[in-house]
Structure formats: structure tokens, C-alpha cells
């Protein structure tokens, strides 16, 4: 298990403070808004993740052994979900990533339903894409 960063702790307490779906939704929208966009020039087939109903773009680098990931999509709540995913895995090492229990992370945030095996929201496809890219 890789440990939670201070930012992740912060996110966790923010989400755990939400006691309704509405608050969670508003918080997700806020997270999504704060996430940097991937420009139209960078939105190329190579950077497109297959298997999401709403297209998701991904730029992935390893700097000094740690992951630098950019994710973007046009759907705002999905973008929020991508943002909270990044909170958990941004800047860690590829080795640590293999240890992260993403399900557990989303469950703790009260967002476990978003990780269903259904292909529709694509969050699973994003996680799988990142893992495959690093494998």
C-alpha cells in the first residue's frame, strides 16, 4: 500500500464531509474545474483512451521516476472523477502505482459506484490504460 499524500488526505476529508449526493456532485464539479485541460492540439488519437463512452485524453510521463499524468474529458463530473483519481496517483512511482488500491480510494470517497464494471463512465478504462502504459 502506498501512503496517502497530504493532498489526498485533504481530498478525503473534503469528500467525507459530504453527506448528500448533491454535495458530492458539487465537489466533483469543483475538482473538475481545477483540473488543467489538455489542449485541442494535444487531443490526438494516440492520447485517446479506448473504451470510454465520453472520450478521455491522457498524457503520461515519468519524470525522475515519478508519474506525471494529465487527464481530460468534456464531461464535467467525469473530469472531477479524473481529478480525484489524480490526487491519489499523481507524482508517485510506477512501482507504487501497482500497490494502490483504487477501488478502496473511491470507496473511501463515497464514490465506489463510479468504478462499476460497466463501460459507460470509463473510469475503469482510464485506470487500466494507465496501468497498461506503465506495464
Amino acid at each position: 500500500m502506498s501512503l496517502l499524500s497530504p493532498a489526498a488526505h485533504n481530498t478525503l476529508s473534503e469528500f467525507q464531509g459530504c453527506h448528500s449526493w448533491e454535495n458530492r456532485a458539487r465537489l466533483l464539479l469543483k475538482y473538475g474545474q481545477q483540473l488543467a485541460s489538455i489542449t485541442h492540439e494535444q487531443r490526438q488519437q494516440d492520447n485517446l483512451i479506448r473504451g470510454c463512452e465520453s472520450p478521455v485524453w491522457c498524457l503520461l510521463q515519468q519524470q525522475d521516476g515519478t508519474l506525471q499524468i494529465q487527464l481530460d474529458t468534456d464531461a464535467r463530473l467525469l473530469k472531477g472523477l479524473l481529478a480525484v483519481l489524480l490526487v491519489r496517483i499523481q507524482g508517485i512511482t510506477a512501482a507504487d502505482l501497482a500497490q494502490v488500491d483504487i477501488n478502496d480510494w473511491f470507496t473511501q470517497l463515497g464514490l465506489s459506484r463510479q468504478l462499476s464494471p460497466s463501460r459507460s463512465n470509463g473510469l475503469n478504462a482510464v485506470i487500466q490504460h494507465i496501468r497498461t502504459q506503465l506495464a
Binding site: 456532485a25 458539487r26 465520453s54
Partner: protein
């Protein structure tokens, strides 16, 4: 909003149980809930002891075969087919269309054309696209304009001497606009163009009459028609059986074989390789029988009244409706809102509608939309379902805008 109560709702245990868990089912175009009559038939078939069909001559085998063939007869009757030999049991619409794209392969020469509408479901596009790629055919598309409209009245203008097949749906799962295809199908027949009708959505809201439509082939799925999933119908016009070459091969679908050669049986058995979904066919027939027992006009009036309420509510809220829907379902977007976001927040509130491209990606490319939210209706819906939907919609829009 006037209160509309479905007199058939209480016959659907799934609707009751979904309601009990706070879910409002408005995704019937994806799959429909099942009436008690279907469940009873399914359970009864399995409980009384099963047997394979068309194989052994023992009594359970005879009984199962009889029930299976009666199911075929009922399906033929329901479609108004002239003969139950015209009915092939499939896994569903998709398998029916894939079957045709192989069974009819011998009818094409390189350069021949296949004509489809621009709003077809992937199931009625991709099998033809693949056939075209395998045999160097041209896939022609009846264009949908930016409003989602297609000029069915002028569709025959796209016929030419190379056109060999027309595949089209009378009711799109996205646009919800009912097209009367008879004149077009008649023009196709006059020019010896093979016609395939994708009735997956249409069959749910209008009882098909394949003789009146006068198409060559017609396909539909049981699961959208209140029946079990995993079974569907393919109707083949009696005079077109000779066009079809066998596709899947196996057990009893042949007349004779050696290690090196085989002759297939005629329709329908020659196209039903392997042990079929016997229970499903029988339970589907029970569903059709139940449907036949309903007052068709009352069902249609109820669905139409719900549709009007749905359309009105969406219009009042200035939603952007896709196309010119008039039947059973409406796809729409809220201005400046991504459909995935809207679908997400509706689902948070227990409203089961579908957001996305609805297996019609090329149509959405054509419309320049990332997708849409679709509300689809069935005979068991009440206006209370619509009220719950509108309430949730207002709430979602409050959050998103």
C-alpha cells in the same frame, strides 16, 4: 400534468421491485421489464422437465418439440407471416442481422451497393459494413440532416442499377420518429432490391405485419418486447428462402453429412444450428400471447399520452430535442450541459435513463453532438414516472448550470 395510470403496471414484478428500491425505469428502449405471464411460462417449462427438441422421439422430447414449434407458430401469427417456416429463432436482432449478412453474401458482386439509413443502430450498420469490406461492395447512406431528419419519401432516389439491398429501421432508437416504410419497400421490390427491416424498436410499439410491409426480411429482439433476453426472430419472405446459404453449422441442422461434405436443411431448421434456447422461445411466445390479449388501441393511446407529456415537459424546459420524435422515446440535451453529466446526476436520483451515443455513433458524428440523454417509454409507465424524472431533471440542472 394529468395523471396517467397504466392498467398493466401491476403485472410487472420488476417495475414494482425497482420502485421499491427507488428506481424509475425509463430505459425500456434498452430492455423492457417482464410481465408475470413470461415468468410463469419460463418457470413452468423448466419445472415440468426439459428435453431437447427435434432429436429424440421420447415423450418429453415430443412435448418440448411441440411447444417449441407452437412458439414458432405463434411468432408467425404475431408477425402475420404466411407460414411458420419463415420464422428463424435467433439470439436477438443483432444475431439476425449478422446471420443475414452472411446468408445473403452470395447475392452480391464486387461494386454492388447496399443502402442504409444514416440513423441505423450499429447492429444494422456494422454487419453490412463488414460484408461490404469482405466483398468490395459500396455502402451508401441515406443522409440524415443536421436536424436528424431523413427524407424517406425521396429515399428511392438513392436506388440505382447496382443497388442490391436496403436495410432500414422504421423507428430509430435515438430519433423516435416513426417512418412508414411501405412505399419505399414497394419501390425496392419493384427493382428487385432485397429489403431488410430492423424492427427492434418498431415491433415494441406497433405490432408488425410483414405481409403488409412486404419486406424480404424482418428482425426483432424478445428482450425489448417484454420477453426473455437471448432470443429473437428473423422472418424471411417465403419466396426469398432460396437466396440464403447456411451460416452456422452443427447437430441437427443438416440433412446428411460425411466427414468431407454436408447438405443443410431448408428454413427454418437449417439456420438453427445447435441446441436452441428452447425455454426462451417458449417464454417469448407466452409473452406474445399476453401482448395479443391486450387492447392494442388502449396500449398505443397510453404510450402516446405519456409521450405527449414527456415532450411537453422537455419543451417547457427548453431542452434541445434530437430530431422530430413522435413515438415512444425522446433523446435530448440540456443547453451547455454534457449528456454524460446529466445522465450521471439523473442516475444519482434513481432515474434510469441512458446517456451516450446509443449504439449510433455515426449518427451523432453527423449531428455534431457528443451524445444525448434518452427517455424511453413502455406500456407499464405512469405519468408519476415522468414527474419523478422532471423533478430530478430540474435538480440536476440546478447543480450543473
Amino acid at each position: 400534468m394529468q395523471q396517467l395510470h397504466s392498467p398493466w403496471r401491476h403485472l410487472f414484478p420488476g417495475i414494482q421491485q425497482l420502485n421499491d428500491t427507488g428506481q424509475v425505469w425509463l430505459d425500456s428502449a434498452a430492455t423492457a421489464q417482464k410481465p408475470q405471464a413470461m415468468l410463469d411460462a419460463l418457470l413452468q417449462y423448466y419445472q415440468q422437465g426439459v428435453a431437447n427438441v427435434h432429436r429424440a422421439q421420447h415423450q418429453p422430447g415430443e412435448r418440448a418439440t411441440l411447444a417449441f414449434e407452437q412458439a414458432r407458430q405463434l411468432a408467425a401469427h404475431w408477425l402475420n407471416a404466411s407460414n411458420s417456416d419463415c420464422i428463424i429463432f435467433t439470439k436477438g436482432t443483432t444475431e439476425g442481422l449478422n446471420l443475414l449478412s452472411h446468408a445473403l453474401a452470395g447475392q452480391f458482386n464486387a461494386g454492388d451497393e447496399i443502402l442504409l439509413s444514416g440513423y441505423e443502430h450499429h447492429a444494422n450498420l456494422l454487419p453490412w459494413q463488414q460484408l461490404a469490406q469482405r466483398q468490395q461492395l459500396q455502402l451508401k447512406i441515406l443522409p440524415v440532416d443536421n436536424n436528424g431528419t431523413i427524407e424517406i419519401a425521396h429515399a428511392a432516389d438513392y436506388f440505382n442499377s447496382r443497388t442490391r439491398l436496403l436495410a432500414i429501421s422504421p423507428l430509430s432508437n435515438v430519433l423516435g420518429q416513426l417512418h412508414s416504410l411501405q412505399p419505399l419497400l414497394a419501390q425496392a421490390r419493384a427493382q428487385s432490391i432485397i429489403t431488410v427491416v430492423d424492427g427492434a424498436q418498431y415491433a415494441v410499439h406497433r405490432q408488425p405485419d410483414v405481409q403488409q410491409l412486404d419486406c424480404d426480411f424482418f428482425v426483432c429482439s424478445s428482450h425489448k418486447l417484454y420477453g426473455p433476453d437471448g432470443v429473437g426472430l428473423l422472418y424471411a419472405h417465403p419466396e426469398q428462402h432460396a437466396l440464403m446459404q447456411p451460416w452456422q453449422w452443427g447437430g441437427e441442422m443438416i440433412e446428411h453429412c460425411t466427414y468431407q461434405s454436408a447438405q443443410a436443411r431448408a428454413l427454418p431448421l437449417g439456420f438453427e444450428a445447435g441446441t436452441p434456447g428452447i425455454a426462451n422461445a417458449i417464454a417469448f411466445a407466452a409473452t406474445l400471447e399476453w401482448l395479443l390479449s391486450l387492447d392494442k388501441a388502449a396500449v398505443q393511446a397510453h404510450e402516446q399520452a405519456l409521450f405527449t407529456q414527456l415532450k411537453q415537459g422537455l419543451t417547457e424546459r427548453n431542452m434541445q430535442i434530437v430530431g422530430q420524435p413522435d413515438t415512444a422515446l425522446i433523446s435530448f440535451n440540456a443547453p451547455e450541459v454534457h449528456p454524460a453529466d446529466l445522465a450521471h446526476l439523473l442516475s444519482e436520483q434513481g432515474i434510469a435513463v441512458r446517456g451516450g451515443q446509443h449504439c449510433a455513433m455515426p449518427l451523432f458524428q453527423q449531428l455534431g453532438l457528443p451524445g444525448a440523454v434518452r427517455v424511453s417509454l413502455a406500456l407499464y409507465n405512469d405519468s408519476s414516472d415522468l414527474q419523478a424524472f422532471f423533478q430530478a431533471l430540474d435538480k440536476a440542472l440546478e447543480i450543473l448550470t
